[in-house]
């Protein structure tokens, strides 16, 4: 259990480091992928709404430390997304191959939308801009692609201790 928590903490740390270093250089039409949000969606898909919400809150809080928007905004958006995706996945009957891509894209769209709306209501009027909708859509596609790499990573970290090596088979 302790090892699992350490692995999950390392996943959050790795995603934040990648997000704030490598992917700031890899923008497409002003959009960069939100790895922590994709990680949250993966966690919610694997473990359900509460682990998804908790992972989202922790990773969102870590992301917030590097943004100019108030601390807590990403934490709130990611926690709500994690909870929502977790509830949705509990209604899924069976897994399909493209589920990571679809959930990654749609979940990211919802997560970023929550971020914009709550941020705008919290006094950051600049978030209510038409251009941000374009960025939101591009970022969601980017996130959907990144889900292919992030989902197995989170799945490996979230599973009970089994001595399984990375990458998972």
């Amino acid at each position: 259990m302790a090892l699992r928590r350490i692995r999950l903490a390392l996943v959050v740390l790795s995603l934040v480091v990648l997000q704030t270093t490598v992917f700031t250089h890899l923008r497409v039409f002003d959009a960069a992928p939100d790895l922590c949000l994709v990680g949250t969606i993966a966690m919610a898909y694997e473990e359900g709404p509460i682990p998804g919400a908790l992972f989202g809150f922790a990773s969102g809080l870590a992301t917030d430390l590097f943004l100019s928007t108030p601390v807590g905004l990403s934490a709130l958006a990611f926690a709500l997304t994690g909870y929502g995706v977790g509830l949705f996945q509990s209604g899924l009957i069976r897994e399909s191959k493209g589920i990571a891509f679809v959930l990654g894209g749609v979940g990211a769209l919802i997560g970023n939308l929550i971020f914009l709306v709550v941020g705008g209501l919290a006094g950051h009027d600049e978030l209510f801009a038409l251009h941000n909708i374009q960025v939101l859509i591009v970022a969601s596609f980017y996130d959907a692609l990144m889900a292919a790499a992030v989902f197995p990573f989170v799945r490996w970290a979230a599973k009970a201790d089994s001595g399984q090596a990375w990458p998972p088979h």
Partner: protein, 286 residues
């Protein structure tokens, strides 16, 4: 895949997370020392990694830029050669007016860019968020950078420091929707405030008099305003468009920044006003 049962514990956990998030948002929006110091520590921890990654990515960025912009670079080189020749001539003319300008500035007792010392810093990356226009510098309070310090390149204004830790600083760019700057139109001397909208690299001028006219290409510089963050006379941009309808209260003027804010490698953080500078007596003794 685990099927999760919707229970009361689940809802109360979510409710707690929502409440904690909202409290944090409120606390940070009002400014809080604890949040700032946690933020500062996180920036210090990530800074060495960011520097390494930036160095590793530099050749890739250069290669991509060189391949995709070869034609543009060639024509830009020819244009710059012509501009250097023109500027050399202009410099000779300006040198004659220089002493007169500095005498007038002293009479007005306004601080100028010469009153500021600078700290050269490397841009290590852009902000990680999708909805902000910021860049990160590899220097911070340890090297003398302070909150709100103006940031420039040789061409002109870049933005100002909005977050700073001991080894890193975050600069909000001139074309960020959260950034506004007092400026002056070079030929008419009209004062205005810049503003920007998300996704638009050009700035819009506000609070202009209805009589103000501007020509395309006219230089826009920082205004001389008491207690301003920026020294006066720094190049901000050039007028990109001017229009005024019959019923408009003020003209619509857009300004293209002189600095290419998407391709910043090194910048200078101005210590303005310089805390180490000794105050000079006003020429009139007042």
């Amino acid at each position: 895949m685990v099927v999760y049962r919707r229970d009361t514990r689940g809802r109360s956990t979510l409710l707690i997370l929502i409440v904690v998030s909202l409290v944090l948002i409120t606390v940070d929006a009002n400014g809080n020392g604890v949040v700032d110091s946690v933020r500062s520590t996180a920036h210090n921890v990530i800074q060495p990694v960011q520097s390494v990654v930036n160095s590793a990515f530099q050749p890739v960025r250069n290669l991509a830029g060189g391949v995709t912009h070869y034609g543009a670079v060639k024509s830009e080189n020819a244009r710059l050669q012509r501009e250097i020749a023109d500027l050399r001539g202009q410099l000779r003319v300006d040198q004659t007016a220089g002493p007169q300008v500095s005498q007038l500035e002293k009479l007005l007792d306004l601080p100028t860019v010469e009153d500021a010392t600078g700290i050269v810093a490397e841009v290590t990356g852009t902000g990680p968020g999708n909805f902000e226009r910021t860049v990160t510098l590899n220097k911070g309070t340890g090297q003398g950078i302070r909150l709100h310090d103006p940031v420039v390149t040789g061409d002109g204004v870049v933005g100002n420091v909005t977050q700073v830790s001991s080894s890193q600083a975050t600069v909000t760019l001139l074309d960020s929707p959260t950034f506004g700057l007092g400026v002056r139109l070079e030929s008419s001397g009209a004062l205005a405030i810049t503003s920007a909208t998300a996704g638009d690299r050009d700035l819009t001028l506000s609070f202009l008099s209805s009589a103000v006219k501007a020509t395309k290409g006219e230089l826009v510089v920082t205004a001389a305003v008491p207690n301003a963050v920026f020294p006066p006379g720094l190049a901000v941009g050039t007028v990109a468009s001017y229009s005024k309808g019959v019923q408009d209260l003020e003209p619509t003027i857009t300004v293209a920044p002189v600095v290419d804010l998407d391709n910043l490698d090194y910048v200078k953080v101005l210590r303005y006003p310089d805390p180490t500078a000794t105050p000079t007596a006003a020429p009139n003794g007042g």
